[in-house]
Structure formats: structure tokens, C-alpha cells
Symmetry: C2
Subunit: 155 residues, 2 copies
């Protein structure tokens, strides 16, 4: 088990594109969003992952992630996950001493760009890049599980 | 992915105990029982498993099973699964050419004994042992996911 400490921001301009280190397409869906956990299936490039996250509040959540065969992930996305599946391209972007993840959404969430930084502790300091806008870590509308059910295009 | 073809029977006497090959304690809980899939966590002896089953009808279901660290399984059972957790001892019992699984439930399902046989196809024939009573394959009360929510002792 890991504990995930993540802060999430809206992206207000495209200057982050100058610092892209790599990018990867991600398809992800949810097998469960009720109860005390969310269960996520993800096809990340040609690798599959199953992730269980506890529903703890705030920026820290318990997380269990397992790699699974990509064929299993694709079958679950097609036949078992709630729809619509989230379709995005994840960019890793260097800023100061940290690697950010900037997700450019497509499909029903087209138009949404979110930046995330993972921290080792809740009080770890980090440089806030000029392209990072309002913080939305605590706004449940931006949880990917909620973006699957209530996509950005319908807000 | 596998397809699971399973038939389930009540057990009407204890004569199956003469043919026990081995037994193993199982604790299992559910991270999800809504939507199109159930997500099960199981501690089986000292091994952990995460299992996703599609909600297809009848005796055939799609199934994905992954072994996970036993510590992860225990933590999920304690903190993330719906309660109460199912507590049973699984006995493998030889009958004719097949190995049956006879589950003796404890805790909130104490008093319930169920026998299951896994088949390679829906029309595969098998010998029905004299200790096997009524078939309950299609009775949703006997799904383990439902026994977690509505245990036998409260029927």
C-alpha cells in the first residue's frame, strides 16, 4: 500500500508545453465509485493497471496499484467499467525540482487541462509554475471518477 | 480473462466430510457490488487475491483474478471493503471425476454450508453426490456478495 499525496491545479496557459519530457495516452474507467473505495482500470500506453483508492478526505489517500495484462484492462474498459471511459494524454513536465503531470482530456472532457504534483508529505514545498492556475485538489468535480460520470462538456 | 461456469448446491448432510482432500480458511470482502462488476478481496490462507467478476446472468461469468500481497488484502478487508467480511472454511471434496468446494460459513453466515462445482462448459455432465441438496445457482441470496450484505443469520 502507498499513501498518495497529490495537489491538483487548473492550467491557465500553454507555456508548460516548452518543458514536456514525455507524453502517454491513457484510457481509464471505473469499476466502482461507491462504498469506501474506488476501483480504477487504466490502459497506459501498452500497459494495464488496476488501482484501488480509499475514499479518505483531503489530499492524502491510501492507494493500491497492480499491473495487469493490457488485454485484461482493455476488456474491462469495454465491458465492465462505467461509461464514458476517460480519454486523456498525460504529459510529464519538469518544473523546479518536481515532475508535474499535465493531463489534456479528450472525448467528453475535451477542453479540460489539469496539472498534478505528487508530494512526499503534506507540507513539502514546491515551486508553483506560472501556468498553474486555481488549485482544485478539494473540488470533487475534478476527481477523475466524477469526470467519468459528469464530464466537463456537460457542466 | 476466464469464463467461470459454476453450479451451487445446498448441502443436506455431513457425509461429504469423509472425502475432504484439504481445507483452507477464507476471509473475503467486496469493494464494489454495484455497476457492471463486483470487485472481491480475498485472504485465502496466507495468500491474497483481487477478483473482478462481470455481472453476466446465469451460471457463466467473466472473471479476472490477480494475486496480491497478503498484507494488501488484509488492509483492504479491514479498511476498504463493505462489512461484514465473509468468513468461511473451504473444503475440497472429491466426488466422481470432480473436485467440489464445500464452504462452511462462520460469523454472520454461520449455519450455511454451500457446495460448488466448476465446469468446463455449461452442458458438462457430473455426478451429483448424495449430500448435495437443492440447486441454488440462480438464487441471488446465495451470491457471496449478497451474503456479505444480507447474511444468512438475518434471513
Amino acid at each position: 500500500m502507498g499513501l498518495e499525496i497529490e495537489r491538483k491545479f487548473l492550467v491557465k496557459n500553454a507555456s508548460w508545453r516548452d518543458a514536456i519530457e514525455d507524453r502517454e495516452p491513457i484510457l481509464q474507467g471505473y469499476l466502482a465509485e461507491a462504498g469506501r473505495a474506488t476501483v480504477r482500470v487504466r490502459a497506459k500506453g501498452d500497459r494495464g493497471f488496476l488501482t484501488i483508492k480509499g475514499r479518505t478526505t483531503g489530499v492524502t489517500r491510501s492507494e493500491f496499484e497492480y499491473e495487469i495484462p493490457i488485454e485484461d484492462a482493455r476488456t474491462m474498459l469495454e465491458s465492465l467499467s462505467s461509461l464514458p471511459v476517460i480519454d486523456k494524454v498525460r504529459h510529464r513536465v519538469r518544473c523546479g525540482g518536481h515532475l508535474w503531470e499535465v493531463d489534456v482530456f479528450a472525448g467528453e472532457n475535451a477542453g479540460l487541462v489539469l496539472a498534478e504534483i505528487e508530494l512526499a508529505s503534506e507540507d513539502e514545498s514546491f515551486e508553483r509554475p506560472d501556468w498553474a492556475g486555481a488549485e482544485v485538489s478539494d473540488d470533487p468535480r475534478y476527481y477523475n471518477s466524477n469526470l467519468a460520470r459528469h464530464p466537463f462538456s456537460r457542466w
